[in-house]
């Protein structure tokens, strides 16, 4: 699992590549730190190369959302595949995020 953080057009973009499962979640959680101080920036979670997300991954995304909302920022999920979209739909979280 790889992540990469980049600021693009005033948005905070986090790229995910690989499988976001329970095993890698603690490491990814630390890698999401740059998204915490997001005042004045929207966040894009770019999942174009994300192959799989587990409950632990969903919890990380929800943590990003909760923190961003408190700071007045929006969170967009970009480029998810059909399987991951179905995970969001069947858990009811599809209504919580904005998708690009």
């Amino acid at each position: 699992m790889k992540t990469r953080f980049q600021e693009e057009n005033n948005d905070y973009v986090m790229y995910f590549e690989g499988r976001l499962d329970t095993a890698v979640s603690p490491v990814v959680e630390k890698e999401l730190q740059p998204l915490h101080e997001c005042e004045g920036h929207d966040i894009i979670l770019d999942c174009t190369k994300l192959e799989y997300i587990s409950s632990s991954g969903l919890r990380l995304f929800l943590g990003v959302l909760k923190n961003a909302k408190a700071k007045g920022s929006k969170v967009f999920i970009k480029g998810i595949n059909d399987d991951i979209r179905n995970v969001f739909a069947m858990t009811g979280f599809i209504n919580l995020f904005l998708f690009k």
Binding site: M90, T91, G92, F93, N95, L96
Partner: protein, 366 residues
């Protein structure tokens, strides 16, 4: 500019200068205390204004009627506080609190609202002359804090607007106003009094409506409660989807993540539900199938976190499918919830695929 005053008035002015520090301290104590107590009592206010009288303003007052004051302690508006409320009946509530909290000098307090003839309108405000009791401040080094009087005015926002404009125009005018204009002012005061009363009446009616809805919801007479934002909020307090959510969560021993269900109100309205009774029947009739639909997707995964909207979402999906709405009806729900997106079609198709395996849809085809 400060006018030339006689010695008696100059003495009064000097006394005022000497006690300005005390007045400033009182000003802060009273303002802070009022903010706290009104907030604790839950009375919404537009604001609290306060001021120490300007020296020039006091000098002009003394120039006119300085002889009636023996000492500066006889002047009761050196410190003035004004509480501005939204509603007329809140003026009375604030007055009751003020009476309870401060020592009132009744001989000098006046209810301007009661001073008008039945057929006249004008300045409406309640003025109390008060002293700070020792329960609020007790400083042996400054006992005057409990003896100096101050003026506390209470009025509504509309009364405040009227009197501010009247003060502005009335005091600026160098010429005597013809009675025609005075009459226009009076008419406006009457109109604002009417509007104030209407706002209060509206608030009372809305509070009564809320109470009735809560009683109907609590007593289960839900067919009499129309479905709208206010009633839906009251209904959600009964946590009507908890049982279904709990059943769904139990399949994977999942955590239920708190989410708002209010975004589903337009979906429910779009589905033709008109009363909370309709929602109650919808839950009763479709819960088992909604459970099956949710579980069909989740049971084959190890996902152990679900959103609190999962039950209601599944109910909506199953309801439109059972009523023959098919793919377009599912897309319509998703469009309302998520906004129109191409991906809604793929999600809807997946739901149809999962639903096609449920008993309620396979029975007919077998």
């Amino acid at each position: 500019m400060i006018p030339l005053l006689n010695q008696h008035c100059e003495d009064l002015l000097e006394q005022f200068r000497q006690k300005r520090g005390l007045l400033q301290r009182m000003e802060q104590v009273v303002a802070d205390y009022l903010h706290t107590i009104l907030s604790q009592q839950g009375i919404p206010i537009v604001g609290i204004e306060h001021r120490i009288k300007e020296e020039e303003s006091l000098a002009r007052k003394l120039e006119l009627k300085g002889a009636k004051y023996q000492t500066s302690n006889d002047i009761t508006d050196l410190l003035g506080i004004r509480i501005i409320t939204f509603y007329t009946n809140d003026v009375d509530k604030v007055a009751a609190i003020v009476k309870h909290e401060f020592r009132i000098d009744w001989d000098n307090s006046v209810d301007k609202r009661k001073m008008h003839q039945l057929n006249s309108f004008g300045y409406n405000s309640l003025h109390y002359i008060c002293r700070l009791p020792k329960t609020i401040i007790d400083d042996p080094a400054a006992p005057e804090l409990n003896t100096i009087r101050f003026e506390l005015q209470m009025r509504t926002a509309l009364q405040h607007v009227w009197s501010s404009i009247e003060h502005d125009i009335g005091y600026k005018g160098v010429v005597h106003l013809p009675s025609e204009y005075k009459r226009q002012f009076s008419r406006l005061a009457g109109m604002l009094e009417l509007i104030d009363d209407e706002f209060s009446r509206l608030r009372t009616k809305m509070a009564e409506y809320s109470r009735q809805v809560q009683i109907l919801v609590a007593s289960g007479q839900l067919d009499e409660v129309p479905l709208n934002l206010k009633t839906f909020y009251s209904y959600l307090e009964l946590r009507p989807f908890d049982r279904l959510n709990g059943r769904i969560a139990a399949v994977n021993q999942a955590e239920i993540f708190p989410t708002s269900l209010v975004p589903f109100l337009p979906v429910l309205e779009d589905m033709g539900f008109e009363t909370l009774g309709d929602i109650e029947r919808f839950i009763a009739e479709d819960s088992d199938d909604a459970y099956q639909l949710a579980v069909a997707g989740l049971a084959v995964t190890d996902l152990d976190i679900i959103a609190e909207n999962i039950g209601l979402q599944s109910l909506c999906f199953i309801h439109v499918l059972k009523n023959g709405g098919g793919l377009p009806a599912l897309i319509r729900i998703l469009d309302i919830l998520n906004g129109k997106r191409e991906s809604n079609q793929a999600i809807a198709q997946n739901i149809i695929k999962q639903a096609s395996l449920l008993a309620c849809f396979t029975k007919g085809s077998q």
